[in-house]
């Protein structure tokens, strides 16, 4: 659905994008991740026909974004990183204005606006001034706006930034619903954990280059994220527990951190049953045993620092 080949964008001597290649299949939710200034927003603006690339091509549904701007705009719904609002319009008027701007006939507009208001759960706010809405509501309204012309592709630039946890969850649910509707969604963020639950594919960009593209599983493998188990035993039995754990072939390393023992596992299995049995049969009183949470943000930091290639 979206195909980018050798895309580059220079702002004077600054190269915001350098030879970017990317492909997003139809119906995918593609997470576009990178640190601030990596080139995410520039890529999205080019796809939304708001910027012209310095070199390279970008196409949506086979249409070049620079040559067929008007056609591309009809099939794309773009939500910028900061949602601007007209302070003299109400929610319904705002959506109807964009419906008219997208050339939807007058007799169809009301039904369409009501539909997107229902989908985004904004019916109760239809008569409110747009600038009186909370940040979360404004983000919802932004999503309602991008859906008004039923686009095939949604380009959402950090749609969850600045939202509280509840609003983030709501946005996530809304995106899942849109995926069920068959939309192709490109969503950017610099927080990997925010996207991992909803994205099928992820692309990581840094300094205008794509450093990784693939599924979430592939990213785990590529970064070599190790599974760890956290073990807590009595103070007097710690040395014995370390000895028992070190003897297990499934455990590659044993580290002590404060009152906890950290067991680094050989592969993706958790081995919690094996560890529990080993310790209990060895006469150690087990206080706690739990898998260590994988720190994806740390992994992302590793990737974007160029530690993992």
């Amino acid at each position: 659905m979206i195909e980018i080949k050798g895309l580059g964008k220079n702002y004077g001597s600054l190269a915001a994008l350098a030879d970017l290649d990317l492909k997003i299949e139809q119906g995918d939710i593609f997470g576009f991740i990178g640190p601030n200034g990596a080139g995410k927003t520039t890529t999205m603006r080019i796809l939304a026909t708001l910027l012209e690339p310095t070199f390279g091509t970008a196409a949506i549904d086979g249409l070049d974004v620079t040559k067929h701007g008007k056609k591309v705009r009809r099939m794309v719904g773009y939500m910028p990183d900061f949602m601007g609002v007209y302070d003299d319009l109400k929610v319904f008027e705002y959506l109807e204005f964009f419906a008219a701007a997208f050339g939807i006939e007058r007799n169809r507009r009301k039904a369409i606006v009501e539909g997107v208001l229902e989908l985004t759960d904004l019916q109760s706010k239809r008569a409110f001034a747009v600038d009186s809405l909370s940040r979360g509501m404004q983000q919802r309204l932004g999503l309602a706006r991008v859906l008004i012309h039923d686009p095939k592709v949604l380009i959402l630039d950090e749609p969850a930034s600045g939202l509280d946890p509840r609003a983030r969850i709501e946005v996530r649910e809304l995106l899942r619903e849109l995926k069920r509707m068959g939309k192709t969604i490109m969503i950017s963020s610099h927080i990997l954990s925010e996207l991992e639950e909803i994205c099928d594919h992820v692309g990581i960009i840094e300094h205008g280059h794509l450093v990784f593209s693939g599924t979430m599983e592939q990213i785990h493998q590529r970064m070599g994220i190790q599974n760890e188990m956290q073990v807590q035993v009595g103070e007097s039995q710690r040395d014995k527990a370390i000895e028992l754990l070190s003897a297990l072939p499934q455990i590659t390393d044993v580290k002590v951190e404060g009152s906890c023992i950290r067991a680094v596992l050989l592969d993706g299995e958790s081995y919690d049953g094996l560890i529990a049995r080993t310790l209990v049969s060895g006469g150690v009183d087990l206080i706690m045993l739990k898998p260590e949470e994988v720190k994806l943000d740390d992994a992302f930091l590793k990737l974007t620092r160029g530690i993992v290639h």
Partner: protein, 572 residues
Amino acid sequence: MAMALTGWLSKTANPLWWLGPIFDKELRVMSRRRRYYVFRSAYLLILTALVAVAWSTGVMSGSGNSISYKISRMGEVGKNIILSITWCQFLVAQLAAVLMLSGSISDEIRRGTLDVLLTTPINSFQIVAGKLLGSTMQLLLLLAVALPVLIVVRVFGSMPWDYVVSCFFITLTATLLAGSLSMFLSLKFHRPYSVILIMLMLLMLSYGVTMVFWFGGVAGSSRIVASIIVLTNPFAAVMQATTLTFPGAVKPAGFITWPMHCTAILCLTMIVMFAAMLSVRRRSWTRPVGGTGKKWRLLRAIPTVIIGVQRRRSEVYKPIRRVEGSAMFWKELGKPLRSSINLNVVVFVILLVCSIPHYYLFYQAIASKGNFGALYMLFAYYGLALMLIASVRTSAMAALSIAREKEARTWPILLGTPLTAWQIVRSKAMAVLWRNLPLWLILVVDAVTMRCLTIYIQWTRNDSGFEWHHFAYSLISLAYYAGLIAFVIGTGMYFSCRLKSSTAAVTAALGSLLGFYILQQVVMLPVIYGLGGKGMSFVSIMLYQALSASIKLVIGLLLIRRTTSLIRRRVF
């Protein structure tokens, strides 16, 4: 105790302590901004042009070509140069002070830096004085730099010392007053362009009233009125100083001298600064709960009327208005087309009713063959004021049309729709014209009515038969307004598209309007004046109007075309 007292005294004896670090910061920031280099260059260019015009009109006028004749004209040239420079400095310095300080506090509030400043030991006086003097320091230096030049040229023109010195100090104090007022208003308004428009209106109003009083003969007859005007109005004070240099001119009847005027203006400046000091902290407290309340409702109405900013319609009970016709045009109007038509009709009728006494007085003045006197000023200034208001309003609205979308960050969203650049520009330009239509229509009615009345009187008195040029002049007036409309909309939209901030766009649009006016006066008028032979004939006036209209029309249309091509290139 003694040490503390000594420490406090040594601290407060330092003038920099009184101004505080804000003054230092303003000076640093000013020197880094490109716009001030542009301003200084433009200022020097204007002064050079004025000197050139004063020289050419002084030396070239008359029939003599010999060296001795030209030397004999040097006195006239010197006088012209001094008058041009002093008046130019007087007007430009005040406008520049308004521009420089229009966002002095509101920008700090918008950026959230005022709260930070208020948490430091810097006191309110240091904030206010630092901002005022820091921003106007370069301006005051520019004024001071021109002083030796004026003093030298003064010798040629036999202008009295008193004139140069009085104009310098009147300009200085007027600049400080305009700056302090602008800064005070920036406490009350979120947008710097609102402050600029209010200050422009206040300056035009006060100076317009002065002109009417002055030339209407009131200043020459009423001692009290003349004194009050000269005491409180810098424009009148410069007028008085200028009048005193001309032996045959009508002397004002008042008893106020320029030192008294300057003292009064300085006192007024101190009062405004004091009010600003009191408001600074209050402004910071009231901001989170929605501004300064109802006290400034009347003043707030000025930018609303000038630029037509809609009142926030956050009330839930107000009906939702459906999109009718062109989406862009509908949005730009801010109200349903029918109520917009009704509003335009009501405004037009009100203006027409206000104009009827004006037409009646004009008719009576011509019919009685009497001396126009004060009435002449009324006729001239009524039309001029209407045209000025229409031009400024249209220009400001056009300048805000795109820049406000950029500031509100709705511009990329709008460009993400399939609307073409031409559709957007056309709708915005049409909406600006539509919202100002009553003003332009009344100007057209004014021009046609005046001519019709003149023709009617001539016809009834059978004075000089049929005067064809009245019809031609009416047609040229219409063409002039068409050209002016295209020019103000074209320049406004162009700068709105080129610049990121709405204040910069409004300033550039109004500046271009003023610049073109000066160019007309400096370049076109002398040329036409020369073509007219010994004076301004009716034909040369019509030629001037037609040429001006054509140039404005072409520039306006070219800029609209350029805006259309730039729209998608200057999104962010």
